[in-house]
Symmetry: C2
Subunit: 574 residues, 2 copies
């Protein structure tokens, strides 16, 4: 392929709307084209990258006995009625009607379709275990698509579904898939990806892991313990707070606190620390709009994922009306209306003397003691874990919060879908059981963008050779020089005949412009032919990551490049 024929433009300016580097590079480098909010087309270089990623995924899925299938993008709503998710999933499930007014959805995940595919096949224990996977388009009507291919509405995803007759078998397969995922990310050039314990969210099931590529611009927060290796998504991480040396109980006093309605103002007014306050956070349940108030130590935040599990419902920010009897800004446990659900976070345990709202405009209590002034309560774990917090695994105050991009996830679904959709099998004794399932996803486009996010310099992406759009970038500097052009043309043929994927720039443009374009294409090995090099009988061979830069005799260029390419592949082979 010649650069002059490559469809797509490369340009210098950083697009104004690109917040993160990978997004900017993929626009500037002619990889993606904006079509609509969260919807992109892929130019040839991006398609080449994603095809390579897909093939790596395919090989690793086949290696753990996966069988590739294809499930529909447009699904009948009745399938989602069966699982209950037509009702339970929010607006991110795109619902529509076809010409016959049949209700349909765009598949955002395919548990329902996978169960429907195998429900007849999987009726005997002898058929188990098995795994099916597909690589296919999904649509998720995200409220806030962002960051180019990182969070989109339409995306290509590998999703796999495994079926088992026992929890042990699921766990054994889950472990195989865990390793397959490690291999996939290593082969795609990001071996540093870590698996963290996650919250299963709308997928249901119990144990699940997310594969996180740590980068400051990631949108997930991960709690990592460098001491014991514990890793969890902040959403799933248990918060442990030990209130040592708490202040002794004091007398309960109501204080007039005019216009003091934030923790910050309150601490200033009361001359106390946030840790000395009992903060109220107010939500409403999605199903009945009933208000839930969480009391939590004033320096901590509520983890909504954990809260959802406790209230067994989706939640949203509450609208506090006058009729509710709740006084926004002055909420405290004592004197709340009885129709309000109250949850006390474990961070309040052991605190004897708190500052908190008095449920009366412009008034707070000080010296508030939960057991004495409110009654005995059960504490729940609903706080977000914090940097420097206690590791739930080893107990040390060692937690570090990092940010990461989720590039894959694996779930032990259990029987959630087999029960709701009646996927049963008969065992050796003729007894019927629900199948036990796992599911395993990787977003292909997001993975490509994530690699660019952690493998780039100021000039563009530095693609690992395993997923690079081409293996070799050939540059003919001064293509108007007949000798240089002839030598480069010949090298182009030789490299291609050797089975290498070459992008050849023989445009009559300035070297600076040629190299800037090459940098944006991020091809790992670059060969530069120029009149000056030719006069010395050499070509320059450099790598995109600058680790190699040498002059090679024209006679040896082909062998040198072949060896270098082989060496680069070896870096990612596992």
């Amino acid at each position: 392929m010649k650069t002059r024929n490559l469809v797509g433009d490369r340009f210098k300016e950083r697009p104004a709307d690109c917040v993160i580097d990978s997004h900017a590079m993929m626009v500037k480098g002619g990889y993606i084209k904006y079509v609509a909010n969260g919807i992109y087309s892929l130019f040839p270089p991006a398609k080449r990258i994603t095809k390579k990623i897909e093939n790596i995924i395919r090989e690793e899925m086949d290696r753990i006995d996966g069988q590739e299938v294809l499930l529909p993008v447009a699904l009948p709503a009745t399938l989602w009625d069966e699982s209950g998710r037509y009702e339970s999933v929010g607006d991110e499930l795109l619902r529509f009607s076809d010409r016959n007014k049949s209700r349909m959805v765009l598949g955002m995940t395919h548990e329902e379709a996978a169960v429907q595919l195998v429900r007849d096949f999987a009726q005997s224990y002898a058929r188990y275990p098995f795994m099916i996977y597909q690589i296919q388009t999904k649509f998720r009507d995200e409220a806030r698509p962002r960051a180019g291919l990182i969070r989109v509405r339409e995306f290509t995803m590998k999703d796999a579904y495994s079926f088992h007759t026992s929890q042990e078998d699921l766990e054994a397969y889950y472990a195989r898939c865990y390793e397959a995922y490690n291999r996939i990310f290593a082969r795609c050039g990001i071996p540093e990806t870590v698996a963290v314990v996650s919250d299963s969210g709308m997928m249901g099931g119990n144990i699940s892991h997310e594969y996180m590529l740590l980068t400051p611009c990631g949108e997930d927060s991960i709690a990592i313990c460098p001491e014991c290796g514990y890793k969890a998504n902040m959403e799933a991480a248990k918060s442990i707070i030990v209130n040592e040396n708490a202040a002794p109980a004091e007398e309960l006093v109501k204080v007039e606190t005019p216009h003091v309605s934030t923790i910050e103002d309150l601490c200033g007014f009361m001359k106390c620390r946030p840790e000395d306050t009992c903060k109220a956070v107010v939500y409403a349940k999605n199903s009945d709009d009933k208000i839930v108030i969480i009391f939590i130590r004033g320096d901590l935040d509520v983890n909504e994922a954990k809260l959802k599990k406790i209230v067994k419902d989706n939640i949203h920010a509450a609208v506090i009306t006058e009729e509710s009897g709740i006084v926004a800004g002055f909420i405290g446990p004592k004197g709340l209306p009885s129709n309000v659900e109250v949850i006390f976070d474990a961070s309040l345990k052991g605190l004897n003397s708190l500052v908190t709202g008095a449920n009366e405009k412009d008034h707070h209590f000080k010296g508030f003691n939960i057991e004495r002034d409110y009654g005995s309560v059960e504490y729940a774990d609903v706080a977000k874990i914090v940097d420097g917090g206690i590791c739930p695994e080893c107990g040390k105050k060692s937690i570090k919060i990092s940010r990461g991009i989720e590039v894959g996830n694996i779930f032990q679904l259990g029987t959630k879908y087999s029960k709701s959709m009646n996927l049963t099998y008969t065992d050796e004794k003729g007894e019927s059981h629900y199948a036990i399932m796992g599911c395993y996803g990787i977003g292909v486009g997001r993975l490509a963008a994530s690699v660019a996010e952690v493998r780039h310099d100021d000039y563009g992406p530095i693609w690992p050779i395993t997923i690079a759009p081409w293996e070799v970038q050939l540059c003919c500097v001064r293509a108007d020089d007949a000798a240089a052009k002839a030598a480069a043309d010949k090298l182009y043929d030789d490299l291609q005949n050797a089975g290498l994927e070459v992008i050849y720039d023989d445009r009559d443009v300035r070297p600076g412009s040629m190299f800037a374009d090459a940098d944006l294409l991020g091809v790992p090995v670059r060969v530069i032919v120029s009149p000056r090099n030719l006069a010395e009988g050499v070509a320059e061979v450099v790598t995109r990551d600058k680790s190699v830069s040498k002059k090679v005799s024209m006679d040896n260029v082909l062998e040198e490049v072949k060896a270098l390419v082989k060496e680069l592949y070896a870096k990612y082979s596992i």
Copy 2:
């Protein structure tokens, strides 16, 4: 892969709802699973087949300098507003709204998205010509999906779009693509596919071809001239009727014809042939419901595709009300209300004395002469060509009507989309022009089903090796026999180590059942290991098409199979 692990069931009974053989085989053979009307999931064998087809297509598209891209499935309606197709395309374009009430469509074809992708890139003549293609999911909300994968609503399609600066360049590229298509179908094992002239329909543009696989169960009718090689879709074929030795003009007489309202009844009543009648066919235009009446020789039918071009609108069957002034069953040219659009088919030219309606209940004319009794008219070509009709190319009465499945199409679009969507480029002189486009489609799943339709026997498909789910089917008859099992196991390893794709049936089932399943999988080369064969020191090597059937010494089986596979591939190499 072992048959025992293959996901999907194979069974004996022909499903009741399958009209054509390929559909029945693909259901019985565990290839496809019905999900909803016109929507199927693919089991692993079908996915393996379609992947091979996709790779053949990819290779041939790359060979004619195509660049693979990916365009979205879900598209903003604004793009289709630009081209005008949001309005002009019927219910087969699925329109919906996203969570923000933005109007969207599911891509059924991607001219709009392709133009949007390259509109910035293609602003200079120096960028031309180029071709982009994708292999991706499409959705077309067909009113009547049928025949399994032959006519579905959701399907995988290769669609390609080429861009040119002159009609000559488009034509030259069109010719290259024409040849690439021939290679694709030949490599997929159906070299008999023919290219026929077609009607461009909703795609717009002028010249277009359809690739037809001739089979009695095809839904398209094709006019073929065995004399000169002319081939056209019946929709596009010009009808030539020469009325030789027409009866002389007679006097115009109104005849009472009670309850005689069909051509058949009329001929019986009037003692004439259908060729002696002037039949009225009534349509209404989609845009304004205005009635169009086509007068045509009574033995012929109206070609709606040609009619749409003449009236420059979509059409539907008219509802004839009393207010219209039209008397259904008794319509004729003379005495029609003036607000009705009238078209005379060329088949009426030269007929002097016709039987036709008198526009009065229970009355017809006989001796009707168009010029004398109605006035001079311009005749149009609106009739369907008929078997035995005149070839528009060589003029002989040689036309044969065959049926076929459309497995691909190519269109010269011209400037339809570049004009409506403002895709312009600047030429050498700095002048602006609209780009000239071509587009080129192949439905992957339909192609797979079509091959099965023309390559099968009573027991299942006979896949060409180039697209077969596996190359070799290994059968261990009497897997309970330790020696047979050990020999088959070893052969399985050997075949796989030789790089062959093998499906291995080592289930302890009866040979009849094993072979029935193998027939349904349609793998081209079969190797049978059994205790009886082993006693002779041989295995049986047979081909699915029965052209080869021999006993081969166990020592030579591997080499024999390798040679046979190579030979089969050679059959389809081009």
